[in-house]
């Protein structure tokens, strides 16, 4: 019966579904995986790099973008929709700074993006944005934040979350492995993000992009070498953990 209620965004189905919004959530699943982790003093964004065509300039295919000096986001879904949302968010960050003379809080800009997305679920002639975003950053109080928005316009704060293609698998990994020890220091938080992505990314470290943000510091993108060295350290730890496992006697 979905077919009668899924043409217009403004039409509810008899059982309360907004099918266009749900279809937009399916579009998000077509984007590659992105993971966000909130550490004690660091926020980490890791993304599965999309395989780029031979003649394409890799720099123009980015899933992690800065919205301001202290806020950045990663998205999954329709590239063009993401570009529009990011542009609007960046303008809002500067407008807020000029008007109120304070940088935006992470929650404020998340709420702005979520409100924008919600508007597009309630207007005739428009379709919802087909992206989910992970927004990370530090507020003036120095506390790290991680928020996630989705095409329906909802937003929630998370300790760690994943969006995109294999988000469910990554989220289950995070639920098992996100402990206070795992985010005890910055390096552990970075390793947790990479380990989560390695669960679903094919051919390892060279298909991962990573960015971190520390208090009062701008966004830092990891180079391929740095990611590779982290991956090697993770593989080493895995091997050692395997060796330490007591062999079962049959």
């Amino acid at each position: 019966m979905a077919s009668r209620y899924d043409r217009a965004i403004t039409v509810f189905s008899p059982d309360g579904h907004l099918f266009q919004v749900e279809y937009a959530q399916e579009a998000v699943k077509k984007g590659s995986t992105a993971v966000g982790i909130r550490g004690s003093n660091i926020v980490v964004l890791g993304v599965e790099k999309k395989s780029v065509a031979k003649l394409q300039d890799e720099r123009t295919v980015r899933k992690i973008c800065a919205l301001d000096d202290h806020v950045c986001m990663a998205f999954a879904g329709l590239t063009a929709d993401a570009r529009v949302v990011i542009t609007k968010a960046r303008v809002e960050c500067q407008s807020h700074k000029l008007t109120v003379e304070d940088p935006v809080t992470v929650e404020y800009i998340t709420r702005f993006i979520a409100t924008l997305k919600q508007k597009y679920t309630q207007s005739n002639g428009r379709r919802p944005f087909g992206i989910s975003a992970l927004i990370v950053g530090f507020d003036d109080d120095g506390i790290p934040r991680l928020y996630q928005t989705d095409p329906s316009g909802t937003y929630h704060a998370w300790k760690a979350n994943a969006i995109g293609r294999s988000a469910k698998t990554v989220r289950e990994f995070l639920e098992k492995n996100y402990t206070e020890d795992a985010i005890a220091n910055d390096n552990e938080a970075i390793k947790l993000a990479i380990r989560a992505l390695l669960e679903v990314v094919q051919s390892g470290g060279k298909n991962i992009d990573l960015a971190i943000m520390r208090r009062n510091q701008p966004l830092k993108m990891f180079s391929a070498k740095e990611i590779e060295s982290q991956v090697i350290a993770i593989e080493k730890e895995k091997e050692e953990a395997e060796k330490k496992k007591p062999k079962k006697n049959l």
Binding site: A27, K30, G31, V52, A53, Q56, K63, G77, L78
Partner: protein
């Protein structure tokens, strides 16, 4: 003629034919130009079978020239990818012919030098058992060309002692079922066989009122008429482009009588299929 409520007399459409029909027929008389255009179009749309190595056309139909006990036909890119990875990589296959045809669905306008690189219809036989034939057909065979294709491949009097297996895909939106569509989990296989086929299919049979379309339907109908045992495996999928999960959905067919013995190393074949799908993946920048 008919009268409306308001008293107007209007010309009512009549399927039985009108008095004007004779006048219209006279106006439609064929000019020599029309006939020439129709001849040229018919020549353009001709299905030709030839050997690529010798560049010579086949004078007789393919299965009249070569004896055949098993004929496996893959129609569509997912079925072709499946056969390429699982069957063709498990043995040495020799190309015996290629069908050249043009229709409006072909992307090329050159009807003389059609390259089999993009859309093709190639025939192979197994070197170690030359009566086993395989056809990879990734081009669209139009309705008016299907009969020609059948004639050129099977001939006008086909032998009945062969087993035909056809693999093809169809979009799941074409599948009619009284169940709710949320209970469907594409891709899934359905089978349809001719009366003479004694093989028990490796999946459930296609239910009414679903029908098969295009070349697979033409082959199956032909086999039914000529009492050739044939079975069609139809994969309903929600992804029409080349897709790993769709191609792998044909795996249950490997246990069928027709394909048994033709496939050797399944894990290796799965890897080959993955590589094939990855190399053929069109770069899409819509989703990131």
């Amino acid at each position: 003629m008919a009268a409306t409520f308001f008293g107007e007399v209007v010309k009512a459409p009549c399927r039985a034919g009108t008095e004007d029909e004779e006048e219209e027929a006279e106006g439609r008389a064929d000019t020599p130009e029309d006939r020439e255009v129709r001849r040229q179009l018919a020549r353009k749309r001709e299905v030709r079978l030839f050997r690529r190595q010798t560049r010579s056309s086949l004078e007789v139909s393919l299965l009249e020239k070569y004896p055949c006990s098993k004929f496996i036909i893959a129609v569509g890119n997912n079925a072709v990818a499946f056969l390429s990875s699982f069957v063709m990589n498990s043995g040495v296959w020799e190309e015996v012919g290629c069908a050249k045809l043009w229709n409006e669905w072909c992307r090329t306008t050159d009807t003389v030098h059609l390259s089999p690189a993009e859309a093709f219809c190639v025939f192979y036989h197994l070197k170690s058992n030359p009566s086993v034939f395989l056809c990879q057909c990734s081009c669209y065979v139009a309705e008016d060309q299907q009969y020609q294709w059948l004639e050129k491949v099977f001939g006008s009097c086909p032998k009945k002692n062969m087993q035909v297996t056809i693999l093809t895909c169809r979009h799941v939106t074409d599948y009619k079922t009284p169940e709710s569509t949320s209970s469907l989990h594409p891709p899934f296989l359905k089978a349809l066989k001719t009366q003479n086929s004694k093989e028990s299919p490796c999946c459930s049979l296609l239910e009414q009122p679903n029908i098969v379309h295009d070349l697979p339907a033409a082959v199956l109908s032909y086999c039914q008429v000529w009492k050739i045992p044939a079975i069609l495996y139809l994969c309903y999928t929600d992804v029409m482009k080349l897709d790993l999960i769709t191609a792998e959905a044909f795996k249950p067919v490997l246990s069928s009588r027709s394909l048994k013995g033709l496939v050797k190393n399944i894990p290796q074949s799965t890897e080959i299929l993955k590589k094939l799908v990855a190399t053929n993946e069109v770069q899409s920048n819509i989703y990131t």
